[in-house]
């Protein structure tokens, strides 16, 4: 099987790289990228510990970086890739940004937004389960370490 350069899997692989940076820094390993016209315009990983800030989730940092890059706070033609189901805060941020698509990997039953209904923008397409196993594995590795 060949992996298209422009597939959801391919961009999720880049988000997973970000998640691994988080893991290396002892942060909850979640990564995100924002893509516009096949180009990655922002990359980020969770930095809540380093920045001492609950708002510094990978998605928030990636949305802010993408808006800075574009000089436009609306990301209407962009896709957000994130390794784990976004929380309520990040889903809300993606709604304000009017994302075209949100693509995530592993579900997050406790803190994920989906149990609160559809909090995304009404025009946002949601795609789930892309490289979910790899994303979940990173999370499990982190929490197994913490328990030791």
């Amino acid at each position: 099987m060949t992996l298209s350069l422009y597939s959801d899997e391919s961009y999720m692989r880049e988000a997973l790289k970000q998640a691994r940076y988080a893991l290396a820094e002892d942060e909850i390993p979640i990564g995100a990228v924002v893509v516009l016209e096949r180009q990655i315009i922002a990359r980020a990983y969770n930095q809540t510990e380093k920045l001492n800030d609950v708002t510094a989730h990978a998605e928030m940092l990636a949305l802010t970086a993408a808006a800075n890059f574009l000089g436009n706070k609306y990301l209407t033609d962009c896709t957000l890739y994130v390794t784990v189901e976004p929380c309520v805060m990040c889903a809300g941020a993606s709604a304000w940004a009017q994302m075209r698509r949100v693509v995530y990997g592993a579900p997050e039953e406790k803190h994920g937004f989906r149990r609160h209904g559809n909090l995304l923008h009404r025009r946002t397409e949601l795609v789930t389960g892309i490289m979910a196993a790899e994303s979940a594995e990173l999370m499990q590795e982190f929490f197994a370490r913490k328990r030791k």
Copy 2:
């Protein structure tokens, strides 16, 4: 009637000052303060236009500033005062911060979090309607100007 220095109204008045700074800068006029042990430890107003960033809501900036001030991302003994009902994003952020109390002024039927259920932390006390008329009036003034 005397207004206690430490009443919810008194802190909301400070949040309203912040909202007026937003109005003066042609931002949607919403202001917030964070209070710990009767002291205001953070003040902020909506800056989504200036910062070109949908995440730059008054509450988000205030929570980040409060965490910076305390050197602690958990605001478990703090109260967030905000002039208008928080959106989903900001409610989610306040949940992560584990706010002790969230106090808002005017309801926001379209973008407020409450129509999605209780998105706050389970230990957060919610108080509503404090100086609601003043808060709503600022919003009406802003949108009336915009329509002109």
